[in-house]
Symmetry: D2
Subunit: 308 residues, 4 copies
Amino acid sequence: MALPEEFHEIAERVNNWGRWGADDEIGTLNLITDEVVRGAAGEIRAGHRIPLALPLRQDGVQTGVIPGRINPLHAMVQVNQELFGPGTVACSDDVVTMGLQAGTHWDALAHVSHSGRLYNGRPAHLITAHGGAGFGGIDKVRHIVSRGVLLDVARTRGVDRLAGGHAVTPDDLEAAEEFGRTRVRSGDVVLVRTGQVQRYLTGDTHGYGYPSPGLSVRCPEWFHTRDVAAVANDTLTFEIFPPERDDLWLPVHALDLVEMGMLQGQNWNLEELSTACGEMRRYTFLLSAMPEPFAGATGTPVAPVAIL
Amino acid sequence: MALPEEFHEIAERVNNWGRWGADDEIGTLNLITDEVVRGAAGEIRAGHRIPLALPLRQDGVQTGVIPGRINPLHAMVQVNQELFGPGTVACSDDVVTMGLQAGTHWDALAHVSHSGRLYNGRPAHLITAHGGAGFGGIDKVRHIVSRGVLLDVARTRGVDRLAGGHAVTPDDLEAAEEFGRTRVRSGDVVLVRTGQVQRYLTGDTHGYGYPSPGLSVRCPEWFHTRDVAAVANDTLTFEIFPPERDDLWLPVHALDLVEMGMLQGQNWNLEELSTACGEMRRYTFLLSAMPEPFAGATGTPVAPVAIL
Amino acid sequence: MALPEEFHEIAERVNNWGRWGADDEIGTLNLITDEVVRGAAGEIRAGHRIPLALPLRQDGVQTGVIPGRINPLHAMVQVNQELFGPGTVACSDDVVTMGLQAGTHWDALAHVSHSGRLYNGRPAHLITAHGGAGFGGIDKVRHIVSRGVLLDVARTRGVDRLAGGHAVTPDDLEAAEEFGRTRVRSGDVVLVRTGQVQRYLTGDTHGYGYPSPGLSVRCPEWFHTRDVAAVANDTLTFEIFPPERDDLWLPVHALDLVEMGMLQGQNWNLEELSTACGEMRRYTFLLSAMPEPFAGATGTPVAPVAIL
Amino acid sequence: MALPEEFHEIAERVNNWGRWGADDEIGTLNLITDEVVRGAAGEIRAGHRIPLALPLRQDGVQTGVIPGRINPLHAMVQVNQELFGPGTVACSDDVVTMGLQAGTHWDALAHVSHSGRLYNGRPAHLITAHGGAGFGGIDKVRHIVSRGVLLDVARTRGVDRLAGGHAVTPDDLEAAEEFGRTRVRSGDVVLVRTGQVQRYLTGDTHGYGYPSPGLSVRCPEWFHTRDVAAVANDTLTFEIFPPERDDLWLPVHALDLVEMGMLQGQNWNLEELSTACGEMRRYTFLLSAMPEPFAGATGTPVAPVAIL
């Protein structure tokens, strides 16, 4: 099954291969300049900090549908162990096993390939079981700190959360910009709120994953036009699922990660941020969303924080 | 073996039990107020971002000496898998197993107990294999964003790195303040640089761990006087190891975590930050060092970033 | 909630503490003498070998109800990796994370305690997160090879599988002996077939676990009278679940493991063995069911084989 | 680097592709017939049982040289947890993460490929990160029970253990047959003792791995002539390491697993068996060495037992 013509047409328009040199492995993160960060610092007014990660728990958002992507398993190797003898200071230590994309995470550019190619035209076979991502791994990203913009599509449309079948379009994004009295610009990290994560937070883990609202295949071109640095939202699949066309699965992943070289974030909890932005009537902030530097990883857990 | 009298005397002076209420689980992080964060925002001048985490790799800083605290094991569960049929978009997915304190990390308050007590006087038996930390777990910490201050003890003393037997004292800390033309104040996160991490970075992983310079038992009182919110450094054990007295192991851990309720960070890479601060002649910055919210965990990997 | 009087009365009758010395850590496995094994060898007549383990898969029998007991997560660290250069011999290597009691397994004597005591009267606090089972760990069991006897309770009662509410009683066991024209004797490993595993094999994983037929609290005394070496069956919980009395949970575990010092096996697939025994009209065989020698473990996966 | 001509010549002579049908995935294990097993039963005379697995511990035989093949990490998820309320029966539960080939193990046929081919001529790309071994996985092996023969090369040569540079040849194997007054025949599982495991057992873990005695490239042909079902020994690499020719790495693996379709066992502890066989002057026994049925795995821990 080849990818349909529609996909290739969009791909051509959003393609960034070579834009930051033949060896570039971080794509649109190049758009976050020192100047962008200085500007972002100015968004800190109240000094509030809002965490955006879901708890990392064994009863996390994964249901077993995605093979191998297991929720965090937490286990103890020391519990109040007096390592240096009875009566000495006691330590507790723990270990975890988890899918790197199991909870609130960033996809690395290496996470997806299509037609045998990764971002910047590199061959897909650079990803191996031995060493993981030989190109575009998450460890190539040194930092993600920029201006964050919340596009609160659910609130803009006056609903708690978008319906499962809702494909978020560029019109939705622009309406949310207007609602938030802001405008997305080069180097911003855009957070798109659908409200879908409420399903998980209220106990419907299966309903959270499917069916899910999410980004339409028409969004990547909008992100490209605005020169967005990265995009995250509050769904399991990022893009609408099941997809808009049944002959085209995960097209947004392929366009964002492979063609544009733009990182995606999934399973971000934007509920508290939505409330705070609504109360402060400001939808911009400094966002710090540092990837854990797992060598050769195709994704990473992230504990983002919005500082308003 | 009881803890010596010297320990109890210091403990009494730095104790914060009850200071933020009987139910408090985050200790000195309470000192990071909105005002502190607003002030920290003003430290962002150049827009530079400096990551402080070591890569998470199987050949990380752990050597096997600390039982169970294994370096990250990275493995693949999908490599360019065309999940929806031949010719469709392909995904790569990975999993990791690791000790939560294996690399660059925060100790949670729950990490240490002494004399059967955790921070705030809670019984140590609240830590169990079932659920981990029932009190003082890292998931209780919502965010760590504050003004960061680098106390570059090595550079202050004119050396690349402190000798293995060097116990960093309050005098060292004050000399580093003066060297950096700054003064540590309430709510700051203090980063103490010894240069020891160079040993790991140049391939001497065993030498990195032992013998190691580190904080003297006399430091916690200084941190307490200054109302520091948290402290991190560039060593495996945080405090000098082997310790200053052979009848008193991990006293700084016990004083910081149990008595004061102050988080500690270990294995932070402060080399690049030291260079940047030296060049800019400024040793303060906004620090974002968000814990991954592992439920019930006694520690967490962290990918801190200094924004200057 | 104290354990009820009925429990203590049975406990007293089946107790084996001290029977094999104060330091014994293997309990009724002491009953498997060289003579028993020589006799078992005589049970090999056809040379057929029947494996009794369920596949170890991510979609195994665990549903998440038992916290931490995760199904095996299999991941790759090498796939056809030409470790010594292009064109050389290529290797594939894998790793696994799993609950030791997740699939077909033996419980170690250390798996259960009651009233603060383990088998042989040892204090329960010998089990710690540091090192696991300091007494009665599975690594203390050197080998489990003996005569195996299938007590096919389902077939004896003329049903495919026992109903969820069926508590297997000593009468059931004796009827199955008669049906199989055999008699359980000292040192035997007894396999009790309920047919319940069919639920899992036909896709009803939740129904497999609950409600489940299983051994009645009256069985341990029968095993004690016959001096059985170990018992396994084809259910998740071994004993009937939910239990016969709602003030007495897991009594069979406590009687078998703590009082008698008798290992239990769970999630054994006895379907093929049932067919083979039925066809051959013989319900005895040599059973090899070697524990994996995990140091300090409270249980172990096992791949048992019946040799007929 | 192509494989040398010498390799291809031997490969042609030992090749078993198609011998048991185009779909066969277990190779020489087909040689273990019911008759062979009946014969093996006759080898049980004393009723002694000798376990052949090394303990599964974090300080196991792996040193980190083989990437990803980590020693077992054992951690607790329950310690004396009274799951059903205070005073009820308490449970302890554990989890493990390990390389499947980390300790005493069988290599599956899928473990090695060369020139893009697996056993029976199947393409190497049937091994993927998604699902592991799509051909020749260890789960295809239902059982390994046969006559075992110890070829005690070290004892035959009158040494405790062979020197690091000793390549075990067919002459060595035949001398050991003669020494043991036995003859290897079709369907036997052959255990070749070098004594090398003593290095690990006495604390020299690095010396255990390298340099190591092991099987010469000339052995596979001998195994083929005798129609051996499987071979295991007491070394980390199975074959001599470093290899006999520096342009030919792991040739024995490629010949055994890919060409012959014969499973290999590594890190077996044959010390106690050697003593027992020496005392009884018999080097044959029933061997049960059941693989754990990990779905899609390229290897498996095994807890073999020799029954004499």
